[in-house]
């Protein structure tokens, strides 16, 4: 009995460990005909299904852009919804090819999980949401509060650091699924809901009365969110990294999904290289030279996907802030295509 259980345990463990790492992910993807993309279980603006069941969001668009680069067809993506807790194992085991799920780039994750972060598609920070009628104006007044959050997140660690550093007591109620956190906070089990500030704006939409809640001004951490791939496959890592860079460069060069066909005739050498009229940049990535053209044409440049999913005109209503281009005072910066 013991032996059987143990060997099944080891068997399961080996199944986790025996993965496609090191193998050429790009070749596998071309062979199977789609990109397998790990997303959240529903975070509006980032990765969420619309009323027709299609996935949308800024994280989803990263996967769609990768598919556009590989296949010239942004729709060749299949999605795996993952909780915060499940996400890294899913990537390590080869169940997904890319994890694009509001995941914070931290040193532990980068160095001990066998993973690589391919860049940052959204600079975020952790915030607190409370009921307006509490009359709390600052996070420093939260001593003694009950705090709801997700397990297996950076959030859980930051909140512990913050309260300890400020010598405040608190009690944490940590759920696995985001919807349960929202529900528990909404019923009044907790005084505070904490997660990435973007997540707070997104999840507030799910509350019974969104208007009764407010986000406190303090941002207590740095949460650079970005796509993640397995370590040990540089070709695939490069492709995901440059997909992101292509979108940022396109915005910087004023190339949009609407004008890209005209831009093919541009005389600007930087634009010529980006849209694939000049040079062999796509080939060097292992895809066609039209890669960036396809990304921008089918998905859009960075500014476009930001505005379409989380920007001021969406229900989330988030302004560009630190996510503006470096040339406009923000942090989004991409090395040149040359």
């Amino acid at each position: 009995m013991k032996k059987i259980v143990l060997s099944t345990a080891l068997g399961a463990a080996v199944a986790v460990a025996a993965s496609t790492a090191g193998a050429a992910t790009l070749d596998d993807i071309k062979a199977k005909g789609h990109v397998q993309c790990g997303v959240s279980q529903g975070l509006p603006g980032f990765s969420n299904t619309d009323d027709k069941g299609n996935w949308t969001g800024i994280d989803v668009d990263v996967c769609r852009a990768v598919a556009a680069a590989v296949f010239g067809d942004a729709s060749k993506v299949k999605y795996t919804p993952l909780s915060a807790k499940e996400r890294f194992t899913a990537l390590q085991s080869g169940e997904i090819d890319i994890l694009s799920r509001n995941t914070t780039w931290t040193m532990t994750r980068d160095t001990t999980l066998g993973l690589n972060f391919a860049g940052v598609n959204y600079y975020d920070g952790q915030g607190f949401m409370v009921r307006k009628d509490l009359g709390v104006k600052s996070a420093l007044e939260l001593g003694g509060a009950k705090v709801c959050t997700n397990t297996g997140t950076t959030t859980e660690l930051n909140v512990a650091d913050y309260f300890r550093a400020n010598k405040l007591t608190y009690e944490i109620v940590a759920f696995e699924k985001a919807d349960e956190v929202v529900q528990a906070y909404d019923t009044g089990r907790c005084d505070v809901y904490t997660t990435d500030a973007s997540g707070l704006y997104a999840q507030r939409l799910k509350l019974a009365k969104p208007g009764d809640h407010m986000v406190l001004p303090e941002i207590i951490s740095k949460e650079p969110l970005g796509p993640v791939v397995r370590q040990g496959d540089d070709q695939w890592f490069n492709l995901v990294k440059w997909t992101l860079f292509a979108m940022i460069n396109a915005e910087e060069l004023g190339v949009t999904s609407a004008n890209i066909d005209d831009m093919k005739k541009s005389t600007n050498p930087a634009i010529k290289r980006l849209v694939g009229v000049e040079g062999n940049f796509g080939q060097n990535l292992g895809v066609s030279n039209e890669w960036a053209y396809n990304i921008v044409k089918q998905v859009g440049n960075y500014g476009e996907i930001f505005d379409a999913n989380v920007g001021p005109k969406t229900p989330l209503g988030i302004s560009r802030g630190v996510n503006a281009l470096w040339s406009k005072g923000g942090l989004q910066y991409a090395p040149p295509v040359r």
Partner: protein
């Protein structure tokens, strides 16, 4: 050529002879099987190590000594954010044991009650039990947990309000608040009195059984034991000047809205996550136990009851001395599996933020350290161990209850 054939022929006969020996054959198979298991274990282990290394995934048990850095809502041993992942393991384990042991207790009580009620001659009682059993048995446990947590949580008073009983027990969304006994110097004597009472009752029981066997005289064991276990300690308690006081929950409805409600550090609180899980686990498992109890009682042939009454036993005694001991033999083995189910089902805790082993260790710790293999193996061994201990205890109890040939 010929010589070779001959040789192999003779070898064949030797083999066939061995083959026909069942003992040798069994031995060969067992050695082969053990060899195969060991080999595949070793193969999987080395493969795993190589893969982890190739993928640059950290391995080993060093993480148990590093700082966890996150908070846990319920800990039976001292725990803070600066404790280690090793302590997280202990905290999770104790929380699992806590909900399992209490759950098993209530499931058994309720299960026996329901099982007997379903056999009752009273139509209303038996139908009520039937409806309860058939409904709860057929609703998935996870849904029942969600029901108790989310639906019931929504209907109890909010943080700044409460339902109270006798001014000392309160219920609201933050949990069940009760007075906490604080023991002072001298209270240890009360504990000693209780222990002495239990030991004395044990010997009295043995003595009275022996005497009844020999002389047929009965002795009021139950009342004597109650007196010894409760009465004498009470006397000691008062004699020592009542060395205990109650720390009542403190409720505030003034001051800042955030700090209104029950104050931390006063009284005792059972968190709603614990209550919901406990209720769901015991009410669900009780339905299965009820059916087992009913089957066990029905398995005792009616002739036994008739014989007992022919001997002049009253119906209470018939149940206690004739029916139940025989029914228990049928009940205990499947009851054990229900206990094991309850322990394993307690891992559904993760759905409602009760910090059991699966939630804080196989969940949070796994995610923060990424060491899936070590953590999953440790967690599985814990469940295996808990199950084996439960089985062993129940097997011992079963052997104790088994029919002794006289």
């Amino acid at each position: 050529m010929a010589s070779i054939t001959e040789k192999s022929d003779s070898e064949d006969t030797a083999k066939v002879a061995l083959w026909n020996n069942p003992k040798a054959r069994a031995l060969v198979f067992q050695v082969l099987l053990i060899g195969l298991i060991l080999w595949s274990g070793w193969y999987m282990y080395s493969n795993l190590q190589a893969n982890l290394e190739r993928q640059n995934i950290a391995s080993g048990f060093g993480f148990l000594n590093t700082t966890a850095g996150f908070g846990i809502i319920q800990a039976l041993v001292p725990y803070s954010e600066t404790s280690t992942f090793g302590t997280v393991f202990i905290v999770g384990l104790l929380n699992t044991i806590l909900v399992s042991v209490i759950g098993i207790f209530f499931a058994t009580m309720l299960g026996f009650l329901l099982g007997i009620s379903r056999l009752s001659h009273n139509w209303v009682i038996s139908k009520l039990a039937t409806v309860y059993i058939e409904t709860l048995r057929n609703i998935p446990l996870l849904l029942q947990i969600f029901f108790w947590y989310f639906a019931v949580l929504r209907s109890v008073p909010g943080k700044r309000d409460k339902w109270s009983l006798l001014d000392s027990f309160h219920l609201n969304i933050m949990g069940f608040h009760a007075p906490k006994p604080i023991f002072e110097a001298g209270s240890s004597f009360v504990v000693y009195a209780v222990i002495a009472g239990i030991i004395a009752s044990f010997f009295i029981k043995r003595w009275s059984t022996k005497r009844q066997m020999e002389t047929g005289q009965t002795f009021p064991v139950l009342w004597t034991s109650l007196g010894l276990i409760i009465g004498i300690p009470l006397v000691v308690f008062f004699a020592m000047g009542m060395p205990m006081h109650l720390d009542y929950a403190l409720f505030k409805d003034t001051g800042s809205r955030l700090r209104q409600g029950f104050q931390a550090g006063h009284g005792m609180v059972l968190i709603p996550e614990f209550l919901a899980l406990l209720l769901a686990l015991s009410m669900y498992t009780a339905t299965f136990i009820a059916e087992i109890v009913r089957a066990g009682i029905l398995a005792v042939s009616h002739g036994q009851t008739e014989a007992a009454s022919a001997l002049g036993l009253r119906s209470g005694m018939t149940l206690r001395l004739v029916v139940i001991p025989q029914a228990l033999r049928v009940i205990i083995p499947p009851l054990t599996s229900q206990y094991l189910n309850l322990i394993k089902n307690s891992s559904l805790a993760v759905a409602i933020a009760y910090p059991d082993l699966v939630s804080v260790f196989a969940g949070t710790t796994l995610n923060q350290t990424g060491q899936a293999v070590e953590i999953i193996i440790m967690t599985m061994l814990v469940y295996l161990f808990l199950s084996l201990v439960t089985s062993m205890f129940m097997n011992w109890y079963n052997a104790h209850m088994a029919l002794v040939d006289r």
